[in-house]
Amino acid sequence: MSPHNVETPEYTGPDRRRSSEDEMTEVVSSHPSTAEYVGIAGILTVLTLMEVGVFYIPAFGTVLAPVLIVLSAAKMVLVVGFYMHLKNDANLFSVIFLLPFFLALFVALGLMFLFGAWWL
């Protein structure tokens, strides 16, 4: 008997595995439509124009950095949530991504504070 023909023990627990067809159906149905994708791209374009616009407006002065960070964060959320499908995907993926993200953010803020670059 070829090793490839060895039968694997039958899985008797809750069947959490899905067929490729089930997966594809789920993937397609949980993803935004083309119109939504184009709409998100439009919002991203507007946010980018706003970022560049406020950069050239002297009146923003001291609030420039916070405004730009908020606009940038909004763009990040849109791309990660809709284009990377994290909004509708399993929560485990969100955990796997957000834990290192917040760790990196915490370390960055801590180092900037320690090295006297705390100006944001």
């Binding site: 899905r18 067929s19 284009y83 990377m84 499908h85 485990l92 796997i96 290192p100 993200f101 960055a108």
Partner: protein
């Protein structure tokens, strides 16, 4: 095929390839977090010019940022084409994604060349070292993404990019969008929020 596909699942019911790739993205987040933090820590502490105030070209970089954002739109449309089994749509949008990635790299090559002509190299100053390391590392990731997309295009012409490869293309898309997200942060923190007087 069912045996091979089932082998990708864990007790979580999730595809192991996607779990592995999100873990990779998490590690990449830490890598870019380190590079961005290093840039910010040394920003404005260069003792030799030119500084970011002298040399960064905001209009040019705004256009390249727009190009990369639109490449993300092309990527999701390419993925939609694959999941629908529409090979022509998938090819067009995956090719568009790779093309926009190349355009972005062209902008970056122009920017780097201009900076070197202006006297800023990776050894000139703290700004030069941290700027070229950060944006160069990002550019390298874009280049890898373009190569990856090119391999998917080759697969499609060989007839190997049917709707059963949706997850494969989705994972390539995750990489591409992550590279886009990193640029969103770099564009804001490096180009638009310029601190320190420099030399």
């Amino acid at each position: 095929m069912s045996e091979a596909v089932a082998a990708h699942y864990t007790s979580t019911g999730l595809d192991t390839r996607k779990i592995a790739f999100w873990t990779f993205i998490g590690s990449e987040t830490l890598l870019f977090g380190t590079l961005i933090t290093t840039y910010l820590l040394y920003e404005g502490r260069s003792v030799a010019g030119p500084t970011q105030h002298d040399i960064l070209n905001i209009p040019l970089t705004s256009v390249s940022t727009f190009v990369l954002l639109m490449s993300s739109l092309a990527m999701v449309l390419g993925l939609a084409g694959v999941s629908e089994g529409n090979v022509k749509k998938a090819r067009i949008w995956l090719a568009m994604t790779a093309l926009l990635g190349l355009v972005f790299l062209g902008f970056q090559a122009y920017e780097f060349t201009h900076f070197v002509q202006e006297g800023l190299t990776i050894t000139t100053s703290l700004f030069g070292s941290t700027f070229f390391t950060l944006t160069g590392c990002h550019g390298l990731h874009v280049a890898v993404g373009v190569i990856w997309l090119s391999t998917l295009l080759v697969q499609s012409f060989r007839g190997n990019l049917g709707s059963d490869k949706t997850t494969t293309v989705e994972i390539a898309g995750l990489y591409w969008h992550f590279v886009d997200v990193v640029w969103i942060v770099i564009f804001t923190l490096v180009y638009l929020i310029q601190r320190g007087g420099g030399a």
